[in-house]
Assembly symmetry: C2
Homo-oligomer: 321 residues x 2
């Protein structure tokens, strides 16, 4: 794919067909109780039940399936706070290639263990973007591995779009889609799928207050990188990229932010009422739906529950800790 | 329904139509990793995502929908360790009638809270069948409430059968269905649905070693009540009943028991590999599938995950406690 070649509807459909044998069609669930609380009709796209526990398996699988044999021989490398790492390690194992994973030292233990279990070769680094990138470059120099960026890659974006393609087929075309944003891979894919397949649907990006670089970027009209983000949503600490930002800027309907307190409340509510355990990142669009006020009244809203990789022994609402 | 009138296929289908607007069609999920571990093809019927968090909503809703207005006026009463209580309280609230719930003192806090939230009127008693029954009788005398037994009732059995009806439609007709057994309501419904709709499917009852009254009953050919059961599977402490025992005796293919240790391991495995939190009772058929040996090799197996009402702050594998 060329540098500025934003994925077409054909690219999205090809990605969907390509990855189908390797991923789950995740369920689209509803909850009468959460409908009552929100005043809207909510549809939850459960990517927490996706392979490796998050939507990231879609993009990683799509990216690897397009590598030539020559490239595959040296393996792949990425830096990730967790879910992309697991997804890439899993996909690499499927196709018999090596996956070098650069992870920040503060990545949750459960995510580190999962990467190891899928056979990923881990290198730890300081939890900064600069440290992640330099560690990744070192591995490339040493091994010749191919970099699979967690989000700033059109094949990744096309892969992530398939969660939205599925949800548009599984339920009614919704008035709104609420989607978390970190680096913007899932959001970009969702925006493209929605634009091509359901142009009347409004996609709203959902971001933690403590990592609101996308919010600031959209308000100012120019890409503002993340600056010392502080949030419980450990999957959303990254900045938008050169490929995700233009797609987001041109297509997103709005962006809303929520506090960590609201995120934890939403996580707990989803567990108590739906018996689904989601990561903090996934709880952000739920919190937005609950706090979004009158614009959501009586509307149909699809919420992408992006992942479920949580350490059950360290739940943020657990008073025993 | 008459005393010895075992539900017909028409009764089951009528129940399915009757309760449809009030319950979830729960998803049937798969896991490549659990297939690999078990050597079989597993289909998980996720009743943990059912209304009120367990299959019990099916039976309770079916039973209440068949009461006449006169009976409804005095309300309904039951004794239950938890899930039937929640289900009955929820269904009663749907139809605007009172639900008196007798619960053992040692019922999990999360289940007590849920019954209260649905508006159930709780009376606590000692955790014995005798105490439950006498407390229930007292309430009947005082209020004229109608008893809805948790399992020894053909309307309840017909309601519970609908989980099996659904799973037979959602996936291939399986070689085996693995179903937990406590009082036998879910198992009886599953046996009838399977006999009518997929007679080649073999249903295996799954029971905790520490509450193996159904195992002893089937081995001896006569109903042996539960005697001081000790198991982590708090939903399965009850004995078989006069209506469930004959259905089970005549239709079940086999019964297998597992240790509490195997139950906890299966719960943890389902969480780690599928991101689904299930109660200990639900983990029993999973443990059976994992330990069942050669008879399950390369077979298709449907597992009914009966409920998900767990206190996440007290997970049995949590080393922080």
């Amino acid at each position: 794919m060329k540098l500025n070649d934003i994925p077409s509807i054909g690219d999205l459909m090809a990605a969907h067909e390509r990855i189908r044998p390797y991923i789950e069609q995740t369920p689209l669930l509803q909850s009468g109780q959460l409908n009552a609380i929100s005043g809207a009709t909510l549809f939850f796209k459960c990517e927490n039940f996706q392979k490796a526990g998050a939507f990231k398996s879609r993009g990683a699988t799509n990216a690897l399936l397009q590598l030539d044999k020559e490239t595959m021989r040296n393996g792949v490398v990425t830096h990730s706070s967790g879910n992309h790492a697991q997804a890439l390690a899993r996909a690499a194992a499927l196709f018999g290639i090596k996956a070098y994973i650069v992870m920040p030292e503060n990545a949750p233990a459960v995510k580190v263990a999962a990467v190891k279990q899928y056979g990923g070769i881990i290198t730890f680094c300081k939890p900064t973007l600069a440290a992640r990138e330099s560690s990744t470059e070192e591995i490339v120099t040493k091994t010749g591995a191919h970099i699979v960026h967690p989000y700033n890659d059109y094949d990744i974006i096309a892969g992530q779009s398939t969660a939205c393609i599925e949800l548009l087929r599984q339920g009614p075309l919704p008035d709104y889609i609420l989607c978390p944003v970190g680096g913007g891979g899932l959001l970009s894919g969702t925006l493209l799928a929605s634009r091509y397949l359901s142009p009347a649907t409004k996609v709203i990006a959902c971001e933690p207050e403590g990592a609101n670089d996308a919010f600031l970027s959209l308000r100012s009209g120019q890409l503002i990188p993340s600056n010392n983000p502080q949030t419980i949503a450990d999957g959303l600490l990254t900045s938008l990229g050169s490929r995700t930002w233009p797609i987001i800027k041109d297509n997103v309907h709005d962006i809303m932010t929520v506090s960590d307190e609201a995120i934890v409340h939403a996580m707990q509510l989803v567990w108590e009422r739906m018996k689904i355990v989601i990561e903090p990142s996934s709880a952000i669009p739920v919190a937005v739906a609950l706090s979004g006020g009158s614009i959501f009244k009586n509307k149909s809203i699809a919420i992408i529950l992006s992942g479920g990789n949580v350490d059950l022994e360290k739940l943020p609402w657990n008073k025993n800790l």
